[in-house]
């Protein structure tokens, strides 16, 4: 995979795909915010994509998702004996999702997606103008 030729469309296109995966993980984190589990292991932990640079030739690089990891943040333990999922000590665990942080992540993702779209638009315009050269 090392030092392949990357066109501008590869660079921005793959970056957009990576940002979309990031948006997907954010969506599933937000969807699972507030879910309750009867055990600490069963509680939802927020998912985080790990980005990795893919080097191309002549100083170009694009990005790919290396893996998706579960956040190490621990679920919140809450004493709630009346909850149907409560264990024998009367505890339940709430999903380890920071909704505010996820919203910020979502905004950042969408901005970075937009930046890549903008790059593609400009590059495409310039390429079309180059094709029209001499006409």
């Amino acid at each position: 995979m090392a030092n392949q030729t990357l066109s501008l469309f590869d660079i921005s296109g793959r970056a957009m795909a990576a940002q979309l995966v990031r948006l997907n993980t954010t969506a599933s984190n937000l969807a699972n915010a507030g879910t309750i589990s009867g055990s600490e292991e069963g509680a939802f932990r927020s998912l985080k994509p790990v980005f990795r640079t893919i080097m191309g030739e002549d100083g170009t690089a694009t990005v790919a998702i290396d893996k998706i990891v579960s956040s190490p943040a621990a679920p919140t333990k809450r004493h709630d004996p009346s909850h149907p999922l409560a264990d024998k000590n009367g505890d339940v665990w709430e999903a380890a999702v920071d909704s505010a942080a996820e919203m910020v992540e979502m905004l950042e993702t969408s901005r970075q997606y937009q930046n890549n779209v903008q790059v593609l638009q400009t590059a495409k315009g310039l390429m079309l103008e180059t094709l029209r050269l001499g006409q």
Binding site: I11, S12, F51, T60, A61, T62, N116
Partner: protein
């Protein structure tokens, strides 16, 4: 001096380098969220000199020095990259219009209008 260079001057080379620099800046923008990514840019004046002398431009690719270092080791600063991208696109467009003018002149000379 090649035929292309005598006809189109520095702009044929410049256009090629501008498009190469555009890919580099696009790479920086693409990696805005990748930890430890080091942004790169082309020293354009040096690259143009080397390319017109037929040398490799590899030594003119430099790492960007960030204005403010970030915790995750990423040195992409979106404002810097976006301004550089816009500037580069504008310079590409000006090279294009110089070429357009040159082609127009030559067409008129060929047709004897």
């Amino acid at each position: 001096m090649s035929v292309g260079q005598s006809l189109f001057g520095i702009h044929a080379t410049a256009l090629q380098l501008r498009s190469q620099r555009m890919s580099m800046l696009a790479s920086n923008i693409a990696n805005a969220a990748t930890p430890n990514y080091k942004a790169r840019d082309m020293n354009f004046a040096q690259a143009l000199r080397q390319a017109s002398d037929g040398e490799s431009i590899e030594s003119s690719i430099e790492y960007r020095v960030p204005l403010q270092p970030s915790l995750d080791g990423n040195t992409v600063e979106m404002s810097t990259e976006q301004t550089a991208f816009a500037e580069n696109a504008l310079a590409y467009r000006s090279s294009l219009s110089f070429l357009q003018g040159r082609i127009g002149t030559m067409m008129r000379a060929l047709k004897g209008e």
